[in-house]
């Protein structure tokens, strides 16, 4: 006998993500889920971005192990919580739920640095306002074609290490075409966390998104 079920396998995670959404909305926090491969420069990117922001920013650091990244944030007096997944390849809504309960932060933008991975984090909603997908010049221009789910879901796409463009065969048109096919509305930003190039434009865009978020509340 066949019994119809039709239930999303990620239902349990999604329910907690919805709960996270109400928690962070009460505290007027816009939450940005940053997803990129290991070594793409997520931590340096966040540090440079916060330097360019004139609204309060906090960080949830996700790593398999260690608190190296969280210490870098804390040294600059950025409110931060470290999550160690102990092997798991992505953050889930439950880990964010716990982090939100310990983080003393409200009225600003909270960046979540997800585990360095382009696959798994894309499947798990955390209650974020939007995802920011990060690629970089050195890892190649084919990332949207190889990891379509991430780029199809991200509102913002960042190409980091743009200062390396003269040294790599990174075909920008091919990259842009891939992103636009998956996601016509994605905004693409070219930055270098090393030189600071492109951050002014991105910070301006984020500030606009934050004020839209606050007005919508």
């Amino acid at each position: 006998m066949e019994i119809k079920i039709i239930k999303d396998v990620l239902e349990a995670n999604n329910n907690i993500a919805e709960e996270n959404k109400s928690i962070k909305d009460e505290r007027k926090i816009m939450m940005v889920n940053i997803i990129g491969s290991p070594g793409t420069g997520k931590t340096s990117f966040i540090l440079k971005l916060i330097e360019n922001m004139d609204i309060p920013c906090g960080v949830i650091e996700g790593d398999v192990a260690s608190d190296i990244d969280a210490r870098k944030m804390a040294e600059r007096n950025i409110p931060v919580v470290q999550i160690n997944t102990g092997g798991a390849c992505h953050l889930n809504a439950n880990s964010i739920n716990k982090a939100l309960s310990t983080l003393d932060f409200e009225g600003g933008i909270l960046f979540i640095e997800n585990i360095g991975n382009l696959i798994c984090p894309s499947d798990f909603e955390l209650g974020e306002d939007f995802k920011l997908a990060m690629a970089n010049v050195a890892e190649g221009d084919d990332k949207p074609y190889k990891y379509p789910l991430l780029f199809s879901k991200a509102k913002a796409v960042v190409i980091n290490k743009i200062d390396l463009l003269p040294y790599f065969d990174f075909n920008k048109q091919y990259f842009y075409d891939g992103v636009k096919t998956l996601n016509d509305e994605a905004e693409i930003f070219e930055v270098s966390a090393r030189t600071g190039e492109g951050f002014e434009v991105l910070a301006k865009w984020l500030k606009k998104k934050y004020s839209e978020y606050v007005q919508g509340k």
Partner: protein, 113 residues
Amino acid sequence: MHELSITESIVNMVSDEAKKRNVNKVTKINIVLGELTGFEEESIRFYFDVLSEGTPLYGAKLDFRKVKAEFKCRSCGMIYNRGNFTFKCPYCGSSGVLIEKGKELYIDSIDVE
């Protein structure tokens, strides 16, 4: 690795359903899996054998219905599936847009004794 938590969800959801309906044996679980999700069939099967032990699901067959991502050509309007390293329309070579298809991950139905 991330199939572990997904398989846990599958086992828990189907176990709950079986309990609710007084089912002693689930023989098949029919799952719909979109091409764009990062989930890999073989890994789910592997974890399933371990996680379902001692439940009415143990030994159940996992059936995956794969859903391909579909794109619509901006120029000729044809619906097509992607190539390996290209998203271009195979009919006219223009760019397309992703149609909301291929992101599915749900339990469609179960077969029980």
